[in-house]
């Protein structure tokens, strides 16, 4: 049910990816995401696929668990595919239905787009699967630190992000509990037209908001009680330090990006229309 939403969640396991410095993971993820858009040939996709499979194996997160994280974005994926499929008017026409036609370019675009989106989501969720919210915040803070000079409240932004991430599972659990409590009182969330269903959400949303505000208030109080006062002059108990494996990871991601761009652009592999 609602507990099954795994996107953005940490998955505890013991792997080399889990132990990497969060800065490495953030930078690598960013590079990986950008690299997905730097080529458009099947050779490039093969390299990207191999790399992704390797990373998934390294992360020791079960494949089924990763796939579950894709569920919430299926709608988005479908829309993208449908638009690309029918709206691209170049190339030869493959199928013609009523006033819509699918062209080779349309099909190619749709498939490439779907693969890119899926790889993008898997790639970024692998980062959150292998990095605890705390590490992630530390990483973001360290990477954005130069912005401090132009008076961007980096620490505060990072803190807000980590709290937001930390609260996803808590609020999901709360939603689950409230839903069950209302179901126990005979609430029905599944039947009826769209207006009735939207109305049926009120008994969940009101208590959820109340509880979110209560939690936020409690948290603020707890932080203040421990003398939290923002980032200024704050030192770290465990400062981030690069180790050998982190440097190796930087080299690997650089090699991958170079390889995927070079192969994706200059290796003339062609299968049917792709």
């Amino acid at each position: 049910m609602i507990r099954d939403i795994t996107i953005g969640q940490y998955y505890p396991a013991k792997s080399i990816l889990h132990r990497l410095d969060p800065r490495v993971k953030l930078v690598s993820t960013l590079l990986y995401l950008v690299s997905l858009f730097l080529f458009r040939s099947i050779a490039g996709y093969l390299v990207a696929t191999l790399f992704l499979i390797g990373i998934i194996r390294l992360s020791r997160v079960p494949f089924g668990y990763i796939v579950k994280g894709l569920k919430p974005v299926i709608m988005l994926l479908m829309i993208t595919v449908v638009f690309n499929l029918f709206l691209k008017k170049e190339g030869e026409v493959l199928v013609h239905i009523w006033r819509l036609s699918i062209t080779t370019a349309g099909l190619r675009n749709a498939v490439y787009m779907a693969i890119r989106l899926i790889y993008l989501i898997i790639g970024s969720s692998l980062m959150t699967f292998t990095t605890t919210p705390n590490e992630l915040t530390d990483g973001i803070e360290a990477l954005l630190n130069p912005l401090n000079k132009i008076r961007v409240p980096v620490h505060e932004v990072a803190m807000m992000m980590s709290i937001a991430l930390r609260f996803i599972p808590i609020l999901l659990e709360e939603t689950d509990k409230i839903m069950k409590a209302q179901q126990a009182r005979g609430a029905d969330f599944e039947s009826g037209n769209i207006i009735q269903r939207a109305k049926a959400m009120i008994p969940i949303l009101v208590p959820l908001f109340v509880s979110a505000f209560r939690r936020a208030n409690d948290l603020a109080m707890a932080m203040e009680a421990r003398c939290y006062r923002g980032g200024e002059g704050r030192t770290k108990m465990k400062p981030l330090r690069y180790k050998g494996r982190d440097r190796a990871a930087y080299v690997m991601i650089a090699v991958y990006v170079a390889a995927v761009v070079a192969i994706g652009r200059y290796v003339p592999l062609k299968i049917w229309i792709f």
Binding site: R3, P62, I178, Q183, A184, R185, G186, A187, V206
Partner: protein, 341 residues
């Protein structure tokens, strides 16, 4: 209105790192009209268990029969099951959402498809049952105090007139008076309407006072399923499971070990008081010329009980624990009794 569980298993998040076997091969029967207490330490599977009773959680494996019908059969009317098995969650006040208490209590009956008049009638009846004052009926549920919110939320379930009432720690976070009020109301309902009550609690005292039968959960398994006094006889095993028998049990065991012929099976404070009176009474009448000594003995014993922990003169662990747990109220009670004598 019986509930029967056959080899019920439930696993949270199977095949992931979060996998947890929450219920292991549970076989239970809860006949109609019984007052059953479910007890177990945190994470023992109590809450998971009771959410099966009205089908909110579907068992990974096994069968659950309500009135002889397997609720996991395709086409089983879940909505009807939820009308008959009312479930009050832990901290039920977190489910309140309407603009006033009255409409919130009406939410359940409204979902049952009753007319507005009937809803209101049932809501009024339920609110009266939980003892919420009339001036709050039109107040926003968010303006009430914690105990009042709790009552309003319980009324929300009672208004559906369930045949089985399941309460998950209805007294968590309430003061002693609020706790007694709510439990007394539940006991009253049980007597008046004959509804089946399943009460989940951490407190052995509460359960001992009201329940006909106790189900002890430990690590997802049913550890004991018996009458209170038989369950409490295993107080050493209960301690190992992170629980404890009621304080009365410890005192009675203590008394018995020190040679006062009391029945160790009593489970509530008032029963214990009567029992001590009876035991002392017989002792005195048996050795009439020793009356004074008997009294002295009893007093010495009273003193002993409160000192044993401090002196630590080789008293067994359980004894020390008993003394540690014996609340002021309980010891005072028994002492008073002895003094009156």
């Amino acid at each position: 209105m019986s509930i029967r569980l056959e080899h019920l298993n439930y696993i949270y998040s199977p095949n992931t790192a979060y996998e947890k076997h929450a219920l292991k091969d549970i076989c239970l029967e809860i006949p109609a009209g019984e007052f059953v207490g479910v007890i177990g330490h945190t994470g023992s599977g109590k809450s998971t268990l009771i959410q099966h009773f009205n089908g909110l959680i579907k068992a990974t494996d096994g069968k659950l029969f309500y009135n002889g019908e397997n609720i996991y059969e395709p086409g089983y009317n879940m909505k009807n099951l939820r009308n008959e098995v009312g479930l009050v969650f832990q901290y039920p006040e977190h489910q309140l959402f309407e603009i006033d208490v009255m409409s919130d209590v009406c939410f359940g009956p409204k979902n049952q498809g009753l007319s507005p008049e009937e809803c209101e009638k049932r809501a009024l009846e339920a609110l009266r049952l939980v003892g919420l004052k009339e001036k709050y009926y039109k107040a926003s549920p968010f303006e009430l105090s914690g105990g009042q919110k709790r009552r309003a939320a319980i009324a929300g379930v009672l208004a559906m007139r369930p045949k089985v009432l399941v309460l998950d720690e209805p007294t968590a976070g309430l003061d002693p008076k609020g706790r007694d009020d709510i439990l007394d109301q539940v006991a009253y309902l049980h007597k008046q309407t004959g509804m089946t009550v399943i009460l989940v609690s951490h407190s052995m005292e509460d359960i001992a006072r009201y329940a006909d039968r106790i189900i002890v959960m430990n690590h997802g398994e049913v550890m004991y399923n018996d009458r209170p006094k038989n369950v409490f006889a295993h107080y050493r095993e209960l301690e190992k499971a992170g629980l404890a028998a009621p304080q009365v049990t410890y005192i009675m065991h203590d008394l018995k070990e020190r040679g006062i012929p009391v029945d160790i099976g009593v489970t509530t404070v008032s029963e214990a008081a009567d029992e001590i009176m009876r035991a002392l009474g017989t002792e005195i009448s048996e050795n009439e010329d020793m009356t004074g000594d008997g009294m002295l003995d009893a007093d010495a014993m009273g003193g002993d009980t409160s000192d044993a922990g401090a002196t630590g003169d080789g008293t067994p662990d359980a004894d020390a624990a008993a003394v540690g747990r014996a609340s002021g109220a309980d010891t005072a009670d028994s002492k008073n009794m002895e003094k009156k004598r």
